[in-house]
Amino acid sequence: MDELDGNEAAGLLQEVFGREMTVAAATCASCGTVAPIGEGRLYTGGPGTVIRCRTCVAVLVVITQVRGRYCVDLMGIRALDMPPGNMAPGGA
């Protein structure tokens, strides 16, 4: 399956979280690496969208959509450090 860049999930993440998320620093629950979500490995070919840790390839985020409802699994993220503000699509 093709591996894409976490930055390409920016639109979906913003739709789900209501704010820019690719700059948020995620701590991988498996290996402890701290990196922006945009640095992750993105997979969109399967059912749902998967973002994996760039270092250890463990799953960080799974987003699926069932009948218009989003299901978000963040089990692979131990901590999420979000910079303040930046709510608008254009950023601030």
């Binding site: 860049d5 913003q14 820019e20 699509p89």
Partner: protein, 247 residues
């Protein structure tokens, strides 16, 4: 949902193609008129959604090719087995409409206040967000010194060549053609690696800010080499695109 964009909300809207520029045989820049565009920053993306008559839809994320304040444009490379890029690069014409949303992303972004010195390293169509950064610098009157290293397979595959050659003050551009070089080519003809970066890039002591965009392997090699050369990892921003899915 497709109506007027609510400020702060990310909504799909219909854009109209205002210009089409053939950059290389397989790459096009598409100018877009967007009714409610909140403005973007250099390096941000927008999402394009194509919907077939049977309702099947495909979404792709593209780097915005223009600077903040400029009309929205994307530059798209045709991928032979792509679902979206063949339509965008071959069929789409001025006056056609496209569903888009954006801008999105905030990681691979440069604003004038971020300063430099800037090291921009692009492989293939990875030049697109770097071009937005260069235009941003130019438009804002910034004098941040820039070094751009641009790797492509052949001269005919260099995107924005004329525009890039027009930069002079404070912008130093190095090309490397990895597969095919024209007769008399005096530039580099090798892949970007640590040795080439050691030769060309700002020394780490200048505390440079690096943006690296290209195919995954290219980005891994360059980012790893820059860190090995002493660049601070947090000041090496990366954006990768995969073999066939993204663009």
């Amino acid at each position: 949902m497709e109506g007027t964009a609510v400020p702060g909300r990310l909504t799909w809207q219909v854009a109209t193609v205002t210009a089409v520029t053939q950059e290389t045989p397989s790459v096009r820049t598409i100018g877009l008129g967007v009714p409610s565009w909140p403005g973007h920053r250099a390096g941000q993306h927008l999402d394009v959604r194509l919907t077939a008559e049977d309702g099947y839809s495909a979404e792709r994320s593209y780097s915005i090719a223009s600077a903040a304040g400029e009309p929205v444009a994307i530059t798209v490379e045709r991928l032979a087995d792509g679902e979206v890029s063949p339509y965008l690069t071959e069929d789409l014409q001025v006056g056609d409409q496209l569903e888009i949303r954006g801008p999105v992303g905030g990681y691979f972004v440069w604003e004038t206040a971020d300063g430099g010195p800037l090291l921009l390293v692009g492989g293939g169509s990875g030049i697109v967000p770097l071009r937005a950064i260069l235009r941003q610098r130019e438009h804002s009157g910034s004098d941040v010194p820039v070094k751009l290293l641009y790797s492509a397979r052949a001269l005919s595959e260099l995107i924005y060549r004329d525009e890039l050659d027009g930069y002079h003050y404070g912008v130093e551009i190095t090309y490397t053609l990895t597969r095919e070089q024209p007769a008399g080519w005096t530039g580099y003809a090798r892949r970007v690696d640590r040795a080439l970066l050691a030769e060309i890039a700002w020394p780490a002591g200048k505390d440079p800010l690096a943006y690296v965009c290209g195919p995954t392997n290219f980005v891994e090699t360059v980012a790893g080499a820059l860190v090995a050369l002493g660049y601070e990892p947090g000041r090496v921003k990366t954006e990768r695109f995969g073999g066939t899915g993204g663009r």
